[in-house]
Symmetry: C2
Subunit: 371 residues, 2 copies
């Protein structure tokens, strides 16, 4: 199978082009070394999730070695717990002990946790090192590895600390998905469905027609969904890199509810994509309750999500939690301004809008199944 390239177009910084390529395909891991050499790197620090350090991480290091780069490997324990200040400081010290200079680039191998952590390390060490993402989970390939959001959690909240730091390139190798646990693979599909709902009716249709191939992890189907998802993410990021115009906010469809479900259940109960699936189901119901979409679209989205093995019964989830607690969490959302409730809601399949000032009682009705 061939590989494809998606360009993330960004404004330059005084002559230096910041645009970058996402390589999507089978075997693109082997191209990491030559790409870093072409970008002027002389050394590379491979920061890998310990779970894939000896599989995908080793293949990346072999590519770097073969290209003639001096390579250092630092492994990070799997799981959200590594996205913490203590791990950040450990990596900073590891780089300083390796006498890293500005010709050294960081290569992040793993899922969203590794990409966010290693990206933030790259953003802040000697005021900025080049970073390359090698996402090895579906959710990282279709979403988190693209767009330059980096950061860590605090005990007081998720993603409270971070920086915008665009990678120099992204390598989405479909072969890496073969080793992904099924539940983790399926959870990545929530963000894929999201692109259909927020921007691309034809893609939503395609997903409906290829449900079986997707769930079976057919290589051609995976290639297509990663490529289309990457294009959508790249286009949105190109137009609103720093989330200033409001456009990038459409990517948060389902996420205000999702964060509340994740936070109220304690992170780790749901995978992020599962929470996003529940959140999209709730957001569609809210949009319907507000008269923005017809019930048929709510059901159509529910059906696709369910057929892809994703949870949609947010009412059952909310029943175990307190509605007031969920509302309080939503009011504390990082994107909330002065405590007002704000949601990204569809107006039709393939189009969403940012809607401000929604009554808490309306949201409570939706969560309690009274909508």
């Amino acid at each position: 199978m061939t590989s494809h390239t998606v360009r993330v177009a960004l404004p330059g910084d005084r002559g230096a082009d910041r645009s970058y390529d996402i390589a999507v395909g089978q075997g693109v891991l082997a191209t990491v070394g030559p790409r870093l050499i072409a970008a002027g790197a002389t050394r590379a620090v491979v920061i890998a999730d310990a779970a894939v350090a000896e599989s995908h991480g080793r293949r990346v290091r072999e590519s770097l070695d073969a290209a003639g780069l001096e390579t250092l490997a630092v492994d990070v324990a799997s799981g959200e717990g590594s996205k913490a200040a203590s791990e950040l400081v450990r990596l900073w010290v590891a780089l300083s002990e390796a006498a890293v200079d500005r010709k050294t680039h960081i290569v992040a191998v793993g899922g969203g946790v590794i990409g966010d952590l290693a990206g933030f390390v790259a953003a802040t060490y000697v005021r900025g090192l080049g970073v390359w993402h090698v996402p090895t989970t579906l959710v990282a390939q279709v979403d988190s590895a693209i767009g330059g959001k980096t950061g860590i959690n605090l005990p007081t909240g998720k993603n409270l600390v971070g920086a915008f730091w665009q990678p120099r390139g992204v390598f989405s190798d479909i072969d890496t998905l073969a080793t992904l646990p099924t539940r983790e693979f399926l959870s990545g599909l929530a963000e894929v469905v999201k692109y259909g709902v927020i921007r691309d009716e034809a893609f939503f249709d395609w997903l409906e027609q290829h449900q079986a191939d997707i769930v079976a992890a057919d290589a051609q189907a995976l290639h297509h969904i990663i490529l289309v998802s990457s294009r959508h993410k790249a286009e949105v990021v190109s137009q609103d890199e720093h989330e200033t115009s409001g456009l990038r906010a459409i990517l948060n469809y389902g996420h205000t509810f999702a964060h509340a479900f994740e936070s109220a259940t304690g992170y780790g109960h749901f995978l992020h994509g599962e929470a996003v699936s529940l959140g999209m189901a709730a957001a569609a119901r809210l949009a319907c309750r507000l008269g923005r979409i017809a019930p048929a679209l709510v059901e159509r989205q529910d059906r696709l999500l369910a057929n892809l093995g994703l949870p949609i019964d947010f009412v059952a989830v909310a029943r175990d939690l307190k509605t007031d607690d969920l509302l309080a969490i939503m009011r504390r959302d990082k994107k909330a301004i002065s405590g007002k409730l704000r949601f990204v809601l569809p107006t039709r399949l393939g189009h969403v809008e940012l809607v401000d000032g929604i009554e808490p009682q309306t949201v409570a009705d939706v969560l309690e199944g009274n909508a």
Copy 2:
């Protein structure tokens, strides 16, 4: 006395102007509140050096309160020890407990340590908050508060972690210098003399002619040196914000030696400006040894620095340290590339160049007084 404004011109980010003003004069602290209101802030977190929290910090908070901003105060212990990861994490958590959102701005009140630390907190909390600098030391007013360099130290080295994060504005109130210990005040003059040597022969002349007024901390003389220094720093930063073209590197005149003296003696033995003065004396001698300038200029710079109460006898300092150790430190400098020695050296008064590939033995000769 009136106040003056120096503009730091920067390229915009998608329509948002990033340029900012430095207000220089007596009483500019009282203008902090109205300026933040004009910039759209609704809350302010004042991060102040504990030594000035109840004097200058309180005046800043009063200005913010009077302008109608909700204000929170966080004090930081004086000294370089606060520029550390532990303090960074403490401030991140303090902001999260205060439920800081993107309409909250940071106001940093103190010297270089506070500006670097609070600036880095602002750069990284919720991926970036507005920050305003209220420098209360001479070295911060003429140098560190301008230009967006922020960061912390690691146990393994100084300023290894950080980000470029431009402030929204700088308030250099000359009144704050009245309470500065004499030694700290005088050390700030090293960076002032530096601007004369690297960019401005007429300013160097002026400094020679007004030595007595400067050392006596005459308000008009201070106003002039802060204003001229701010203009030089602003011009260089405008032309090379991220240190990519090499221009900004001229600000490191004397600093490669200075860092070696500071590191070898343990930070805290010399004030930064004292080390810079020694470093400039050594750099001028090196330039002379390389035939780039005449001995008369070395002596002229030595005389001005000494008359301003600054140390110049770098040979005596180096005698107590090992030349090899000093050279090893210089080779590890963050700006070194692949271990080569590189210095900013004058070619005439008011002009410097970046000189690569200097023989370690030549540097050793200079340090040992054999040049």
